[in-house]
Amino acid sequence: MTTTPHPQGRTFLSPLTSLFSRVETSLWFPIGVVLALFVFFSLMTDSFATLRNFSAVSGQAATLLIVCLGATFIVLMGSIDLSVGAIVLLVGAVSVTVLNALNIGWLVIPFAALVGAGLGLVNGLIYTKGKIPSFIVTLGTLSVFSGIALTLLDGRAIQFNAPGLENISIGQWIPRLPNIALWAILAWVVLVFIGQRTRFGRYMYLIGGGEQVARTAGVPVARYKLYAFALSGLLAGFGAILAVARLGAAGPSLGSDLLLNSLAAIVVGGTSLAGGVGGVHRTLIGVLIIAILDNGLNLMGVSQFLQMIIKGLVVIAAVLVSRKSGADQVIK
């Protein structure tokens, strides 16, 4: 017999095959939240809706977005990467050290990305070869990477000594738009394309939706899991060097807020932790929500502690509302 046609349907997975011609209906809600937050903060503070503030917000949100892009694929395939913040810290520390020792200039950018990819690969190898849950693997490497980084930094912030490098982040090739935000947008476009129009992207959905099905059909699941973790590391490394360039130094607190913010942004954007549902295109919205909230509450002078409470509630509320009502799925 047919499975019971569900009255609520499964519109959340209305095909993502064509990217720009159709917008998923479920995207309207998070977009609405972004607009509502925008209007709210514009009314509440004079300083929110100013060009100067937009420059500031985009600068802050850029690192988060870049780091989230890779991590979204991990979540999409049903795994989790807790170590992105630690990778940012370690890559930042290594890059600054190398930059000060070897004076490699611009080459530090691909260098950082490759170091990041290597760290991601370590995660992926332990995960696929050791058959250990990704949560445990990245929880472990989170600690290991942080420890190595803090040893390198000796617990202090180290400034880099490469004149002009900061321009890749804080320069403005497009007026009023810091370059770091430009990079983030470019990375987003590329990654959305990868997610929707490539084999890698499709396999991420398949592995997340039904790993056993994909494997039985001959999809090289383990190899693509490795790719995903390497990509996540690569983007974290890229984000790290941009953040370092923006700040002018790598310090112990680099990337410390990324662990929670990245997962929050991914989930608020609508990528399910169960895997197979969501996508990179949605993560932009999640990042915007988190960044606008951070910035707006700061401008309103809300205390840090209250901000934490509000942010937590927003994450829960966003998922609660966007969840399909009546869907009898197992929640873990």
């Binding site: 992207g201 499709r202 398949l206 039904g210 099905v213 059909a217």
Partner: protein, 562 residues
């Protein structure tokens, strides 16, 4: 247990029963239900007399599950009435239906794997065993669960983990729960048990136990039954209702009909006698084999299996559920790593099989558990279709996905295989089992394979779609595709295969030739499956389904899930 379980004759003749027995336990009148524009059932009426087995038969999508959903409180009808025991009955929830004595065995298993059997048996009944509100009396639960198991005559230790038992035994446990908890625990005198394809997952031994249980229940309660297995339907039913496209076609009694006629009612066409297209059976050419397996071992203590199949040949593999036949299929395809052995595809070298490489070399594998391994139900048809060819056909060498080609290809297959109501974007969960299976088949057809390994390709598939799948298989053998067919359906095994291998405990115990003009009988094969491997099955085996000898020592079979 029931107050009226003393009588064992049917129909009831004792005077004290006459008054109540004259009525029906369940009366369904003019039931209609539609989902959106789709009318699923319209104007359906039927009766379930007291103490009887009533069967609904019909193709997938005929509306049987919808009727079950209404009766078990999962959904409500648009129009029509249901009367249970003479009173209007409109359950608001599954719980309400259960409280009125209607229990149900779902098509998909709903047991929790990680808890002991007794907890599954008494799921939802814990309140009965609690003392002082919260404290659960485990011993009482175990005692109650044991009574259910004994009543159902299962060889199960209720304290063991449910997942330790194989699929068939778990299904038996679930059936026992649905059939016996109403009477044994809740004191319901006349339970009504809804069984949706209960036997499709049972091996032969458990099937026998199931039929015993049905006879037992029928002494006091009634069963409403859905099954695709018509021989079995004819065996156990008192009344058969035939549904077609949501409408009740006819009501027949088993004495007055046969399988052939029922097929005719269901599909609205007289079924061709060559259901399995036996006249199209190819004779295997003595050319190089399409696939060669050497020394494959699937069970740790099992023997080595050597196997060769030639282009155009269908090799059937039969055996009980614990015979390792599914594992053999997976091992040859390289879905799981065999304990030992190598496989060569076509003229390729002998190697340890690996599914990714095997598919590139021209092999396709269709798993038995469609929802767990075959398809991703929430994903679109096109995505499920292209899953096996993502690495070559539907992406270019830079890794870009060829979406337009994918959609064109899936449309072509939807047309060629008559996959009803499918579009490239429709979620697979919206398709019937038969149509889902056709999509899985299309996945491999697109690759023009040389070898296909099919594990129960028609499980949960309706008669019409079944026959279409058989036709496709014959088309493939015409083109020289070699097919390994692993199946629990004996008639399918006999009808389709050129030769049949019978497996026991991971080893081949017999090879039976099955040319079109001289097919082996069901009895022969069943005999071979049950025979003691040490001795030849010389003594005549009793006839098919209902008189299979229980093995002397029913071993606990642990078919480890990979």
């Amino acid at each position: 247990m029931s107050s009226r379980s003393t009588g064992n004759s049917y129909p009831a003749t004792r005077p004290e029963d006459a008054a109540r027995a004259s009525g029906n336990l369940l009366e369904v009148r003019n039931l209609s239900k539609s989902y959106g524009p789709v009318q699923v059932i319209s104007d359906v009426s039927f009766d379930v007399p007291r103490r009887s087995v009533v069967t609904l038969v019909g193709e997938n999508g005929a509306g049987k599950s919808t009727i079950f959903n209404i009766l078990s409180g999962l959904t409500g009808p648009d129009r029509g009435t249901v009367r249970l025991d003479g009173k209007a009955f409109a359950p608001a929830s599954h719980r309400a239906a259960v409280a009125h004595g209607i229990t149900r065995v779902f098509q998909e298993q709903s047991l929790v794997q990680n808890v002991p059997v007794y907890e599954n048996l008494l799921l939802g009944e814990e309140a009965r065993f609690s003392r002082f509100g919260q404290w659960v009396d485990r011993d009482a639960m175990i005692r109650a669960a044991r009574r259910i198991i004994e009543e159902a005559r299962l060889d199960v230790d209720v304290r063991r983990r449910t997942g330790d038992y194989d699929f068939s035994t778990r299904q038996s446990i679930e059936i026992a729960r649905a059939c016996l908890t109403p009477a044994l625990l809740r004191g319901i005198k006349e339970p009504l048990v809804l069984l949706d394809e209960p036997t499709s997952a049972l091996d032969r031994r458990d099937e026998e136990g199931f039929f015993d249980l049905v006879r037992k229940i029928r002494q006091y309660g009634s069963l409403l039954f859905v099954s695709h297995r018509l021989t079995e339907v004819l065996d156990i039913s008192d009344v058969i209702y035939v549904l077609k496209d949501g409408e009740m076609v006819t009501r027949v009694t088993p004495e007055k009909t046969d399988e052939h006629q029922l097929h005719g009612f269901m599909v609205g066409r007289e079924r061709a006698t060559d259901y399995y297209y036996e006249n199209r059976q190819q004779t295997a050419l003595p050319t190089t084999p399409a696939l060669r397996a050497e020394g494959v071992r699937v069970l740790a203590d099992g023997p080595e299996i050597n196997l060769e199949i030639r282009p155009g040949e269908i090799v059937g593999i039969g055996g009980l559920l614990d015979s390792g036949k599914s594992r053999l299929g997976k091992a040859i395809a390289g879905v799981i790593r065999p304990i030992g052995g190598q496989v060569a595809i076509g003229t390729g070298p002998l190697r340890r099989p690996e599914i990714g490489r095997a598919t590139r070399e021209g092999l396709g594998y269709i798993p038995a558990e469609r929802l767990a391994e075959g398809i991703i139900p929430s994903f679109p048809t096109a995505w499920n279709f292209s899953t096996g060819s993502g690495g070559d056909l539907f992406s270019n060498r830079f890794g870009f996905w060829r979406g337009r080609k994918e959609r064109r290809a899936v449309r072509a297959h939807i047309g060629a295989l008559a996959i009803r109501s499918a579009t490239p974007d429709l979620a697979m969960s919206r398709l019937s089992g038969g149509n889902q299976q056709k999509v899985v088949l299309a996945r491999w057809l697109e690759r023009k394979p040389d070898v296909l390994i099919l594990d129960n390709p028609t499980r949960g598939v309706d008669a019409g779609a079944k026959q279409e799948i058989y036709r496709v298989l014959r088309d493939l053998t015409d083109q020289g595709v070699a097919i390994i067919l692993i199946t629990d359906e004996l008639l399918e095994l006999i009808g389709l295969s050129n030769r049949i291998l019978i497996l026991q405990h991971g080893g081949v115990v017999a090879e039976v030739p099955a040319p079109a003009e001289d097919k082996p009988s069901e009895q022969t094969l069943v005999g071979l499956m049950l025979s003691d491997p040490g001795q030849a099955p010389s003594h005549p085996q009793p006839a098919a389904r209902d008189k299979i000898p229980a093995p002397a020592a029913p071993e606990t079979h642990l078919e480890a899930a990979e």
